[in-house]
Subunit: 92 residues, 7 copies
């Protein structure tokens, strides 16, 4: 499979679907906000930059918000490339 | 119960309802401002970042303002994910 | 009485009424500016943050400006939560 | 007389009237700019903050610009509270 | 062939065509976002500046976004000049 | 003659007239830009601030741009007060 | 000939005409972007400021972009005064 290595303070996440939401007991309600929270699984983490680090690891399920995430498709699967600052919390 | 760990300078608060407001003697009046103050209980605190720290602890009742807080629901309960800067004061 | 502890570079002031204005000889005229100056008494001062300090103490009467101050009511009394930068001068 | 102590990088000036302008030989012409220059006498200088200092002293006549200066009246006299950056030059 | 040396935190990329997209298994879908991701091959990398570095090398195929990339044509071929921050990930 | 001492990173210049332009062989053409370049002679230089210095001296003829320069008149002569960053080049 | 010495992070370039473009094999296509790239020859380089340097030398042909470059005419020839950041690449 083609692989993407994120640069700097970018992270690649696979967005998770609605069924997963039910399983974990965590629901991301629709809001009037333009930046609706989304859930995803971390696929790869950039090397960071300046004082930016991400306190999470590959495989973590995270909550992130981003108005217009950068989308890429690898062999038919959709991924998002996000900045570290867009990732708000880790499900544990 | 599913658990959320906030990252960086994010904090998770459980918004408190109107009855709690009366009990403490503190009322958050409606204002014309877009950023109406709200009350909540701190559930979890991120590890901080750069020079940002939050001088409060889990369980504290805090006053915060945020135009469009990021909402998540865990097993039917509503929580907000906020930046440290949105938390203004602690009720003691 | 319920007590509020301000965080970071926030300060809590009790806005002073018009009669107090006359007593001190200091008047805050109406202006066309959106940020009309107001007078208040400092009730509590946050621990500061980064390089921000407030060269005033609890009990000082201060002049501040803020377009939309964050209002809270404690047992019927109105208070404002303001950033240090909104406090311009101390009456002595 | 009630006294005001400016905080941080704020300075208090007494705006000078048109006759003074003629006496010094310095005139501040009307301009189309929103930030018309004004003349004033320094009454008090804040303690400064971070790397900000004001290379002037109490009693100096200064030229300043500010779109909407914060006005206060002390015993019928009008004063302005300005940031250090609004003060451009000293008349000598 | 005329050669371009990028300065500071600029990088020169040759945009790759649609067929290449299919070969690698990575597809960049059309989005409603103004900053649609694009794929390109790095031709030259500036010396960096301040704390900015690019963790990629000449010949790497990268994903970048830029609303209005600076275009140059060298002997009929189209190239883009981009800032390091516009380059999000490397295909490996 | 009344004298003005500029503060911080401000400089005082006497704008030069159109005839001077011809003598030096340097012409500042009308442009569609809001920030048309102007020529002036440096009268006084502020003490600088933080990392800001001006690599020019009193008497130098300089090219500067400023959308709305602060104008003052001293004994009938017009002067501009400008920030160091508005001064682009020195005629030699 | 009148000479201009650029200050700080400014550089003076002589814009090159369309024929030169053909000779080098490098073409700057018309774009919908407001900041169309242009080609020019470096005439003089400011002393730099803070952490800003320009990794090019007098006589280099450079690609730059600037929405509204500052134009001056010296003895009938047109020159631009640009910030270092506007210069993207050097032709070699």
């Amino acid at each position: 499979m083609a692989k993407l290595r994120p640069l700097g303070d970018n992270v690649i996440v696979k967005p998770l679907n609605a069924e997963k939401t039910t399983a974990s007991g965590i629901v991301l309600p629709d809001t009037v906000s333009k930046e609706k929270p989304m859930r995803g699984k971390i696929i790869a983490i950039g090397e960071g930059k300046e004082d930016k680090t991400l306190n999470a690891k590959i495989g973590d399920t995270v909550i992130f918000t981003q108005y217009a995430p950068t989308e890429v498709k690898i062999e038919g699967e959709e991924f998002f490339i996000l900045g570290f600052d867009s990732v708000l919390a880790v499900e544990e």
